[in-house]
Symmetry: C2
Subunit: 296 residues, 2 copies
């Protein structure tokens, strides 16, 4: 007979149990498990909130409009996941690192797959706009040994807070992107410009929600990295400018204490000439530690 008989008909008290029982014939065990948790937590939330019919409908319309804001260039549901800390939580769950390894943070929407491989030391800033920056450090394993042949994929916003893909025609293609590969010493170095904070797109339902919650849409200035090497877990992360006005209130919760770099201002012309930039410039030293890949 019907599964409903196990619990009787739907009531306020047994609501989640009745709904979950209905899924007993789900073909996929994982889907069944996921929907069991979602149903239980959703019903707990509704019971705690006790929405009016009008509030329920406002939620329906918010979810609808968030979907309808999405197109080929805009993913409003990812933004919603970001500002609710869900994207960072999923990242944390999927990237638990052994002690000593560098921490991950969100990929973000501005990575491109085909950035050019450049000689170590290259200037990724193709339009010479902004304050010069020299970034350098080492790629190490958890025992402190340098990793040779590590691939470093780096990208950043310009000094106005925009990525090249957001300003096609205004910035050169592949501006502020590059792929580098370490030698035997595990060292990397390249030149760029000091990045600036920028807002996530806030002209949709998610931006409206942020406003209603008294929150700003800004992400503090950062550089993106994906670092990979044979035998190691790939690391997707940022480094952040600790002096950014939004360093303690990243709209998407991407900041971790271990990812704060120092953007050290250097006025000395000789030091600048030594790394082929003009003074004053910002010197950013940051080492990354990769975790050994688990044997498969």
């Amino acid at each position: 007979m019907s599964n409903e008989h196990e619990y009787g008909y739907f009531t306020e008290e047994n609501s989640a149990e009745v709904v979950v029982a209905r899924n007993k014939n789900a073909g996929d065990e994982r889907l069944k498990q996921v929907m069991e948790v979602i149903t239980r937590k959703l019903h707990e939330a509704v019971k705690e909130i006790e929405p009016t019919q009008e509030e329920w409908f406002a939620a329906i319309m918010f979810l609808t409009e968030t979907g309808q804001m999405c197109n080929e260039w805009r993913q409003e549901y990812i933004l919603l996941s970001d500002i609710l800390g869900v994207s960072m939580l999923v990242d944390a769950i999927n990237n638990r690192k052994p002690s000593g390894a560098s921490e991950s943070t969100v990929l973000g929407p501005f990575h491109v797959d085909d950035a050019p491989e450049l000689p170590m030391g290259a200037d990724i800033c193709l339009d010479r706009k902004g304050e010069p920056m020299f970034v350098h450090g080492r790629i190490l394993d958890t025992e402190g040994h340098p990793i040779a042949g590590a691939k470093i994929d780096v990208w950043q916003a310009n000094d106005e807070g925009f990525y090249d893909v957001q300003q096609k025609g205004l910035q050169p293609d592949f501006n502020l992107r590059g792929v580098f590969r370490t030698g035997e010493d595990g060292r990397y170095w390249f030149r760029g410009v000091k990045p600036k904070y920028y807002p996530i797109p806030d002209d949709g339902p998610v931006g409206k929600l942020l406003g209603a919650l008294g929150r700003h849409p800004n992400r503090p200035a950062h550089l993106h990295y994906i670092i990979s090497a044979d035998g190691f877990d790939a690391l997707t992360t940022h480094i952040f400018d600790p002096d950014d006005p939004y360093i303690n209130s990243d709209a998407v919760f991407g900041v971790k204490k271990s990812l704060l770099a120092e953007f050290r201002k250097v006025e000395d012309a000789e030091a600048a000439a030594a790394v082929d930039v003009e003074a004053p410039f910002y010197d950013v030293a940051f080492d990354f530690v990769l975790s050994h890949a688990k044997p498969k």
Copy 2:
């Protein structure tokens, strides 16, 4: 200083607290409270599910497509709310009735505001298709007294499971809809056709989810009522055919035990003539009890 300092930066452990703390300047206290519960339950769900990045993205795409399925005629997010039991839960929370009053169930999407007021006894079936049905009963208060002047707004699907608004041109306008008003005895009676079960729209993401969960999309046969009278809480409800094949597995969880009616088949020609229908017909007797409105 930044609110983040209260909890430090985002970690897997403190994730919900960090996000909730960020909303401290929300202008609307209710929104702040709602988002606090939603954030907490959402993070609990993610921590219990531990989605992979691929599963997270599948969820993002499901939510996106559900929004994009919505248009002037289709509200896929309400369907999602329905099949997860959320619509019924919100209905239950907003319609807690005193002992003895009739129970409510969901409004559904097929009510129209301007159905014609008809004389008691009228046949709401304008195209004579289907098996005749005679519906009758009383509108009572919780002390058992008849309510005079109660407005009874009734609507139903036809014997193929479609409402008039779903079959414009195929069914007459206002087919199987009517508004009646009780006299001093609180009695109501009208003629219609025996309704049939029907599927909720299942050609979108929600229908796909139902299929993956091993669930059918059908609602058991029912008649819709909104009953209102001065001094009483309005009642939005259905009555159901207990012999329907889907009575124990309503796709939207609308069935309540107290809303099961008896659809009694009557073969007797004289009994049929007495209520101005042809034999055989279905006799459906059902009393509704309204709760007294709370003084404002």
